[in-house]
Amino acid sequence: MMVPVEGFMYPNEVELQWSVLIVVYPFVTGLVAGAFILASLERIFHVEAVKPTYRLALLTALAFLLVAPLPLQLHLGHPERSLEMYLTPHRTSAMAMFGFVYLWYLMAVLLLEVWLEYRHEIVLLSQSTSGWKRLLYRALTLGSSNISEGALRVDDRVGWVITLIGIPSAFLLHGYVGFIFGSVKANPWWSSPLMPVVFLFSAMVSGIAIVLLLYMAMMKIRRQPIDMRCVDTVAQYLLYIFIIDFSLEMLDLIQRIYEADESFRSLDFLLHTRLFFSQIVLQIAIGTVVPILTLGLIQIFHVSEKLRRIAYAVCGCLTIIGIFAMRWNVVIGGQLFSKSFLGYTTYKLDLISREGELVAAGLLVLPFLILAVLMKILPPWPERQTTIGD
């Protein structure tokens, strides 16, 4: 309990309640929402250029969505009681309602969309593979092997409707996380109507960036040429949404500085000391300004393909780091200062504990492992065509 405290904190505030796992959680759901929005660009808005990333985006969203409840479960004091949130949800609680939003998004949007998109292959693979793979695919067909023209047309139509519903659902999925923070009137660092919007746009940025990175990585691994028109378009959208996200964050900051309410002095001090590296350096400078400038310059000046690829990869990585830093600054930052506005505490992050560094790192790696498995079962790109002779 010996945590360095500066100034005065209410005695029960010294220990942080929401740990790094609660940083990982909005980061992961943000990637889900962002990847899905990118997928919907192609499906609903007919942005043909990003088609090569469509299936990859869906699978990425699914992989991250499956991991999303894990940090929450590990964080709970009694994870064995977590079913209570579904059995006796308190309707005034944003967290309880979020449980249903998550369930809706998983079952009625994402799984359904992936299933409909892949159903054709699933049926065929259920007939052509053997062993446990055959069982798996047969299970996935739900017993129906109708892949006639009519059925596929139905799938397409229904899939379109689901994507359409999926866009506001994705907004809700991650907006809710922002709302959970933004509606806590006790905490002035969190309490803001802008919070859900900022969270959402930064989620979109991170989701687009991760799909961009994964696409480029996968093409490299499969030794296939990167579709430059595709990545150029994805990078363009990344830039546009980044600009909106940055504007929103700056608006929040500027308004706080201008209004300078009761909490301002305390928060300002926090920003200049404990949060300086993670907010000013990582989140704003390296994680936002550098990618925006780089992507913007690429729009203005002609840059060679090779250089563009490198730039996209670097910007993608910086973006992901920057968005993770943003989640850190909100969640951890919001607990570092006292609600009396008279003091500050320190976050003691253990290496090995239920809510420690290793667990957090593991949870960030796990979705990629799941994605690898998903890509094996549901290949996002058609295999090279071969004949019997090959």
């Binding site: 904190m9 209410y10 009694h78 009681r81 209570e84 308190h90």
Partner: protein
């Protein structure tokens, strides 16, 4: 004649009653009617001497773990007119009293803090499962067998009065000694306060002396701008108190 069936019915009842005999306490007062009470507390800053009796008594009465506080006392020093930057300290929550102050001049006073048992509490609003709630008689309680330990309520409380119990891993806070007030006793902190700085108030009972006090004296609540409906009323609370 005592049949086996009767014995099986009597045994759990006996075991239940025996627990009370051992603990030295009567069962729930049979004539306690929840709808007749609306509980609050009066904290008189003029009278608090920072002895820490309340903090110790609460810890003993409610088995509060070391390092966590269901109630605590803060010491304020406000120099000149600097209302917005008081110097505050609360060594171990005031449990062992306060060391001699090094402050010179200005306004100095003690402020006991506790759960405000808010009528519109943000903590009960955010609980996802219904583990924390208002009783019909105005006390905010935690059902520790139902709490999942998500800590949303701890984040939502503006007064910092909640904590996560390190052993049970559920949220905990001042229960207004619900197990005492429903038996006609007062809370442990009020019982042990030597100066009457803390007094339980039944806001629904016109015969309650505090009830009248609140109607005729200047009283304040903490963070009124958050509209929590706090029912811990402070008398003579300085504007510098956070």
């Amino acid at each position: 004649m005592i049949t086996r069936r009767k014995l099986l019915m009597l045994l759990p009842a006996a075991a239940f009653a025996w627990e009370f005999v051992l603990a030295g306490t009567p069962e729930i007062a049979p004539n306690y009617n929840r709808s007749e009470h609306w509980w609050g507390m009066l904290l008189d800053i003029d009278k608090c001497i920072g002895c820490g009796n309340c903090v110790r008594a609460c810890a003993l009465e409610n088995n509060v773990p070391e390092g966590y506080f269901r109630t605590w006392v803060e010491r304020y020093h406000v120099s000149d007119w600097h209302q917005e930057s008081p110097q505050v300290d609360s060594p171990n929550g005031g449990k062992d009293g306060f060391p001699t102050s090094t402050a010179v001049g200005g306004k100095n006073f003690f402020v006991p803090k506790m759960c405000n048992h808010c009528a519109d509490s943000p903590c009960t609003q955010v609980c996802p499962v219904g583990a924390t709630f208002h009783t019909p008689d105005g006390v905010v309680l935690v059902d520790e067998t139902y709490c999942v330990g998500c800590r949303y309520c701890i984040q939502a409380c503006p007064y910092g009065c909640r904590f996560l119990h390190p052993v049970t891993r559920t949220a905990q806070k001042c229960s207004l000694c619900y197990h005492r007030i429903t038996k006609g006793l007062t809370t442990a902190c009020c019982e042990s306060c030597p100066t009457g700085a803390r007094q339980l108030a039944d806001l629904k009972n016109p015969a309650d002396p505090i009830h009248e006090f609140l109607k005729t004296h200047s009283v304040q609540v903490l963070k009124p701008h958050l509209a929590t409906g706090a029912k811990a009323y402070y008398h003579d609370l300085d504007g510098s108190v956070r």
